[in-house]
Symmetry: C2
Subunit: 742 residues, 2 copies
């Protein structure tokens, strides 16, 4: 059936899993399907061509074959088989941790029942295409318990977790790392481990579903229709980010988000009563969630099933199912203690647990009846996807424009010539703050990029991030594209990671003052690690913000992100460079971009170019010849203007001066040696940099003999012009430094 | 009365306010009282000498003179005068923002009534000694509304905020910066502005009070006895850090913490209903707080008073007083709108507001009757302090040991020869992880430093931070010194800032995995900015943590903190260096220290020394002469061992090799040029560094011709030894790099 649209749903099957600096060459993936590769060049695109053929009418579709994965939750008939399946999960986790002599067996042993019910009875997925668009999403926010998820993926038939993968848990080059990593293991939706991130990612996934459903579903065709499930533990519950994200989930009424709270009373430091005595249920009710308590999470399968059924019936609110479990369930001497949280049980206790749970099998054994029971998910999953593909063909026929747009979001394919929408600036364009220029770019892009959506952490009118042609994404207007995150930077970043992980064509952006990246740094790092192309719009990027003072003035932030792997730190100097920064950010779908933007007005500079920005560093003016200037002045962002002014002065004195914009160190570093030599010739050691931030790291650019002008202490509260003068971020300082060098 | 103990309470009157890189030389403070200067050298200590003299018996003390600042809240008789005082506060804020043409008038206009009641009727303080130990603490968590606090300090008679200071609001060198800064303005307890930090600081202040009261109060003498008040707004409420800290406050039963929630329904993006529809009251009840709602915060003085009275009566729980106010109250056209949040009203609206509130006065005018009314706080405050001093003399007589200990906490004076408690290690001491060596140091120090207390964010047994001789600080055991923060890194950091700001002799430490400094970076930055000497014990400091994988492996973190102003980033290599790091951390009471510590075992290295650590960088071995080695190998922490091994290899080949430990770049940078030249002679450009982290910034040390060995991508999940090999962090790599250079 419908091979073409089957192809569509597979479009992102083979996201590259070859993470830089990660795997030795021998471990590189060998998948041969064309890869979704960040849209850097047309040749890398997977072009979906849907042949024109008769598709079955939606109303005549055969009944869905997947008997277990049904909308209403029904009890699996064979209780003993369920127990056996649950113990299989437990022992796969126990055995893998034991073999690695490292890991967290406690959570999988306690959460195996809810894991079983979810993956075997409730969730709709296709194990042979982990990226099928309309799958239910699952997030293990308590990522340390990843053996639960690996065991479930293994039983469900995912090719990413074979027996040998379980046996190489936590080993070099394996698909089963110590915490779940979306870029390593197909079937893992998001990268978790740092606690609290996962539940916030889940909020992002559920937001994406609600948004896309509102935009693309039709009364006769719910083409977007899935649930998002999460398991979070006590640790996640304590993290502030979880409260931020869950407050938003309640506010937005994300009714298809169902989170299981593994209430096991144990964290690393012991019983949670030593630090966590709040009423989680009451807090979640306060946040606008529906709350259910499953008192027996260890064996209460029917309770778990009933809770999920109830949760699905509540459509206007997310649901928290508090499931009281015993950490390390089944271990006679370690259950219900912190000792089972994060260490292997040890051979003796493994043996005792085998006896206690009546498990006579060898390590890593999956009993035949369990194997057989789970084996239906492969055909059932394929059927689910095939049915959806047929549905999509029908949808495409009826709503071709909507279908094309949705397809581009599913595939992550940018529209042809989208970049022509970028505003064009000339040196004659009026001076403006790059935050304002950023808004012009964002608004222009929103018209051509259907997947662009986002917002600010309560600074929309300062960050200039409102999309003027759209309303607010809210509970009752989820089709809109301005997301109001409130003052919740950390949650905002993690929610954007979730949005980006939902569909490769969703391009989330989010914004706050640059200094407040400190609040969301853990989420930004997960963007970088998990290869989500979130665009971080960070305004008020230096002491140039003025009176708000040192608490609001970034100093070390540029350096701190330049040191972070797999991220693009961009600091454009004017309109043209801002457009260039957006071009780069949109094209880089597998690494996040941070745009540092000014509060203050900046002139449009002669010599800046989009092509220059794409190279990270380039010459904007030069009166030398033979690639041998007397001195090179290097600036970024708001200080490029100062470098240019200083060059004018020095040239009056007869100096041959080159001015370089170093808008992105990472992009510049990726250029050829020849190109880099053409911009910063090794022989020219007379180099002066200027940037209103820490000079830390600038030795890499100016060399041992050059001079870096910057701000290495905290800022101060005063008007911006005064601060620039007092801190010596001036053309005079550049001229003086240059004169000392040449 | 009691001049000696008056001196005691003044011991920290003149904390240095000369913030580095902040004020021009001309603006340096001229206070001549000996300053408390971080205990760097004995000559800088303010030595408190209490003469032996007759002190009044506590039971015969005269009644406290302060009629207004009484324990029970009583209504000020003249309602009109109160209104006038409240309007004075409003217009001082309006006028200062107008003159600066920058700032946030909305909050002060709305919160003036609660501000008035607090500072004029409720709080106990001495305006002429802002550092009187037993004062009530006040925190404006919504720091942007700082003109509220400046106006109150001005009316209350604090010398730090004179009329000219109000007139120089947000100007260069003023005492009235754009957000409250403890290091600029005596009377400001903590540095706020980044939302949510302040309420967490307040939790720390209240923790400190409860802890010290439990340790030092006697049935016949409550020598520690004050309240902590805070005002937080909608923005603070949305931040995750606030929920983290408030969950702990409820857990700990901080009954003397009273927080006012300025419920004005407006944030920068407009009405809070667009992003914040949770029930704050219910959430706080869930967190274990007592909650009161003052429905009329604009004019309901009696309601506010009654709420405070009720809050004080609830002794086992903190109280949240939700005060519904109108932002910008009194402005006829801008009240209750976001436009009054963060901009000057504009001349026309100021005029309209003057008319509306019946305020005929010139800008910055304080009516005589208002002035007179507030003037009593100077004598009353002095009396409060004098009475407390007398009480302390009595306490000292009865409980000399306790008094001496408390006095050292109040003064921040370290015990003589405290550093002799540091453990001594030799090259023969057993190899161990620096996290374990850290615990030995912490436990040794806890015996000699009465103000040392702290804990971990649920990783005590991994961070090795438990003080074995003490129990847990809990609701019913507040005298204990192990603080269990739960998985709340951000709240933990900010709470420690609050503890440090409470008394200069309190030395809070806190711990998590080094990578999770990302969760608490905003609090760490406030430590650095606000000059609190918090000790951050950060273990699992590299890929050396092994199997937990890249989500848990710091890469860019060392670089990111080396770029941060006013912080010490220390990475000790063995036991001796760990002891040195603690020595430095304890001595530096005005800048925070981060100790990056290994999970893995490390040998005790020949040549390491505490004195070396104090200099930041030093030679641990050298077979060259004449300060002219063939090559210099530079390592930190766990890689110093590798550098030493590589040196052995190279020396076998006849090379003259120097090995340098660069344990703290900041301390090394502060050494004399001669010293630095003696360690890293400019002429020797053959330099190889090795550190299992980002190489970003290392060019500063190895120069343009040197080589930096490190990890510039993300880590991976595998055993540590495998990772070191795969990532090339090996002696072989150092030897190869060195051979290329010499």
């Amino acid at each position: 059936m419908a091979s073409a649209s089957f192809t569509l749903s597979q479009a992102i099957l083979s996201r590259s899993t070859n993470h830089r600096h990660r795997l030795p060459p021998s471990a590189a993936p060998t998948i041969s399907i064309p890869s979704f590769s960040g849209l850097k060049s047309a040749s890398n695109h997977f072009l979906c061509t849907i042949p024109r053929r008769q598709t079955p009418n939606l109303t005549h579709l055969p009944a869905i074959r997947a008997s277990a994965a049904v909308e209403t939750v029904e009890k699996t008939s064979d209780v003993q088989l369920v127990e056996k399946s649950v113990n299989t999960i437990r022992f796969l986790a126990i055995d893998a941790v034991e073999k690695a002599n490292s890991g967290h067996p406690g959570l999988p042993m306690g959460c195996a029942p809810m894991g079983h019910v979810l993956y075997d009875e409730v969730m709709r997925y296709n194990p042979k295409n982990p990226y099928w668009f309309n799958r239910d999403r699952f997030v293990l926010s308590a990522g340390h318990g990843c053996m639960l998820q690996y065991a479930l993926l293994h039983l469900a038939g995912y090719d990413s977790v074979k027996e040998e993968d379980l046996k190489s848990f936590r080993q070099w080059g394996s698909k089963t790392p110590g915490h779940p990593e979306n870029f390593e293991t197909p079937g893992i939706e998001v990268t978790t481990g740092p606690l609290g991130q996962g539940i916030a990612n889940a909020v992002g996934l559920a937001l994406a579903e609600k948004h896309l459903a509102a935009r693309y579903n039709k009364p006769d065709c719910e083409i977007v229709d899935h649930y998002t499930y999460a398991i979070l533990g006590d640790g996640c519950q304590m993290e502030g980010i979880a409260n931020e994200a869950c407050s938003l989930a309640g506010h937005w009424g994300l009714g298809k988000l169902i989170a299981f709270y593994d209430d096991n009373h144990i964290s690393i430091d012991g019983n949670t009563e030593i630090a966590f005595s709040e009423s989680v249920e009451t807090r979640f009710e306060a946040l606008g969630w529906h709350v259910i308590w499953v008192k027996n999470g260890n064996t209460g399968y029917d309770e778990i099933r009933a809770a999920i059924k109830e949760a699905k019936a509540v459509k206007d609110r997310p649901t928290l199912i508090k499931v009281t479990t015993t950490i390390g369930f089944g271990s006679p001497n370690k259950a219900n203690s912190y000792s089972v949280h994060g260490s292997a049980l040890g051979a003796k206790e493994v043996e005792a647990t085998r006896k206690n749970l009546g498990w006579p099998h060898e390590p890593f054994h999956v009993p035949e009846d369990v194997k057989k029971h789970w084996s239906r998910h492969t055909p059932d999953g394929a059927a689910l996807e095939a049915d959806w593909n047929a549905k999509f063909e029908d949808y495409e026929k009826k709503y071709p424009e909507k279908a094309a747009e949705l397809k581009s979001i599913i595939e992550g394919k940018l529209p042809t010539s989208w970049e022509t929408a970028l505003p064009i600036y000339t040196p004659e364009s009026p001076a403006d703050a790059t935050r304002n220029l950023s808004q012009q770019n964002l608004n222009a892009l929103a018209m051509v990029l259907p997947g662009l959506l986002g917002g600010s952490a309560d600074l929309a009118s300062s960050n200039m991030t409102l999309l003027k042609m759209f309303g607010n994404f809210q509970k009752d207007t989820p089709e809109e594209r301005n997301v109001r995150f409130g003052v919740r930077e950390h949650g905002m970043g993690a929610i954007c990671n979730g949005i980006a992980c939902h569909s490769p064509g969703l391009i989330p952006y989010c914004a706050t003052f640059f200094v407040f990246t400190d609040y969301m740094r853990a989420a930004i790092r997960i963007s970088a690690l998990s290869e989500t192309g979130v665009i971080y719009v960070m305004t008020h990027d230096s002491i140039g913000l003025g009176e708000d003072g040192p608490t609001h003035q970034p100093i070390e932030h540029l350096a701190s992100f330049r040191a972070m792997p797999n991220i693009l730190m961009l600091r454009p100097a004017d309109g043209t460079e801002t457009a260039g920064a957006y071009k780069v950010a949109v094209l880089n779908r597998k690494r996040p971009s941070i745009l540092a933007l000014s509060r203050q007005k900046l002139p449009q500079l002669p010599g800046t170019s989009i092509e220059g920005v794409e190279k990270g560093g380039y010459v904007i003016s030069d009166n030398s010849s033979g690639n041998n200037p007397d001195v090179i002045l290097i600036g970024t962002g708001s200080e490029l203007e100062i470098a240019a002014k200083a060059a004018d002065e020095l040239r009056k004195d007869g100096k041959a001066v080159r001015v370089v914009s170093l808008v992105s160190w990472e992009l510049f570093d990726e250029q050829s040696s020849d190109y880099k030599e053409s911009v910063l010739p090794a022989a020219v050691t007379a180099r002066v940099s200027i940037e209103a931030g820490s000079t830390f790291g600038w030795e890499r650019i100016v060399g041992s003999k050059g001079k870096a002008i910057g701000v290495d202490g905290f800022g101060a509260s005063a008007p911006a012009g005064k601060l620039y003068k007092e801190f010596g971020i001036t053309a005079e300082a550049v001229v003086a430094a240059a004169k000392e060098l040449c």
